[in-house]
Symmetry: C2
Subunit: 252 residues, 2 copies
């Protein structure tokens, strides 16, 4: 009768996890750039909750390494160093290796369809400039992880994929996504064939090609207002129910 938890590692109460999800999306779609400030009140205001809840959400995201929390200081979106990035990719390759081992030759028809559908979606959202395409590229890997049915693997791959994605927004050029899409298709094909070694090498070069072509660029840093930036994410969060915005504390 118990629905076999599987996902949902922590994500305690609903409101907190809603905010976490929204902020994660905002970060990986680069609406929130590294270094962006996240004051508790503003978040609370935007999502229609008190500071307590916003604070809790920030704590969770900090545990995932997506934001940085320093005592008595405003939380900011994490700004990983280049060294951090290399570390992350190293670990990520090992983890994805495990995913591949779980999955090679064992995909069900439904799963194959789901993967293809996802890549089709990536195709539709093509164009490196579209923030959605960045997110989808990352979520392809997360989708693969989910198919292992291994909660730990799911959590770690998700977390590290998000972090890598964050890194990219710091170091990489606009993210040439057609390349990634083709590589994703090749990976699916090899997985279906059960050609584990092929998938491994594909995955390796795939991740490396993303990480490798990174070049250090100064952060663009457009400084929009946080309430504006988060508006679409807050809307989607509660299924379209636009949260209250009593005082239009615009232009902080």
């Amino acid at each position: 009768m118990a629905p076999r938890a599987a996902s949902k590692t922590a994500e305690s109460s609903d409101k907190v996890s809603v905010i976490c999800r929204a902020l994660r999306r905002a970060i990986i779609e680069q609406a929130l750039e590294p270094g962006a400030k996240l004051p508790e009140d503003s978040l609370g205001e935007r999502f229609g909750v008190s500071r307590t809840i916003a604070r809790h959400a920030l704590g969770q995201l900090a545990a995932e390494g997506l934001i940085e929390l320093r005592r008595n200081r405003i939380a900011v979106v994490a700004t990983p160093s280049w060294q951090d990035a290399r570390d992350a990719f190293d670990v990520r390759i090992q983890l994805e290796r495990l995913v591949v081992r779980h999955l090679a030759g064992k995909l069900t028809k439904a799963q194959i369809a789901e993967l293809n559908a996802h890549v089709d979606a990536e195709d539709r959202a093509r164009g490196g400039s579209d923030p959605v395409s960045i997110r989808l590229a990352t979520e392809f890997h997360i989708l693969l992880a989910h198919m292992t049915n291994s909660p730990i693997l799911i959590r770690y791959v998700s977390e590290i994929a998000y972090r890598c994605c964050l890194t990219l927004s710091l170091f990489s050029r606009p993210h040439s996504s057609e390349c990634a899409i083709n590589e994703h298709r090749a990976i699916i094909a090899a997985l279906v064939r059960g050609d584990e070694e092929k998938v491994m090498s594909l995955m390796h070069s795939h991740l490396d090609s993303v990480a490798g072509r990174a070049l250090v660029t100064p952060v663009p840093q457009r400084g929009r207002d946080l309430l504006d930036i988060l508006a679409p994410y807050a809307e989607e969060a509660e299924g379209g129910r636009v949260v209250k915005l009593p005082k239009a504390a615009r232009g902080r």
Copy 2:
């Protein structure tokens, strides 16, 4: 000037992280068994903080998978399934593999000394019944991870090592530690020689021997009072300063 953060992944404010550390220790030393209830007020009372802080700490530990949080329900120490355990060990082996690759043949004299000192400490605390020896065995692996200087690796290995340790308290017999100690010594030796492959196989069989000899035993479940159980951990937490205990709400 900035001291190059490096460690400290999340662990926001001091009080929260103190409680987290104390609970982690209590859990891996099996003072808190899987399924043990952790009401917010009791924790707050024991550590001399309000529910707010205790709650935040529980959130962090839930993110690490050490405790389980369900809406409107008392937090409990996680009770990993056997399947979870296998998953954890799979991932762990990959992660430790990375650690070994970082470290093989690259250990400094100081690091070698530190490792030997640690194993000596394990030796001293010998005896599977001593909860400290269990903790030290786990912390050997965490110590190795720390030597990689890779924040991500440190965090993941620590986390998963704790979780594996937790699993053991559910499924394993008392944990025959002399064996583990010898294996630890062998691993150090091979690491020093730079014999990467040897370390790998040692590590693999080491972890496997720990996981493999697990047998499903019904949880013992002694039901002591939470305040009693946590007393020593709360003391150590704040450097010996015993926290206030205004109302002796004994024998809940």
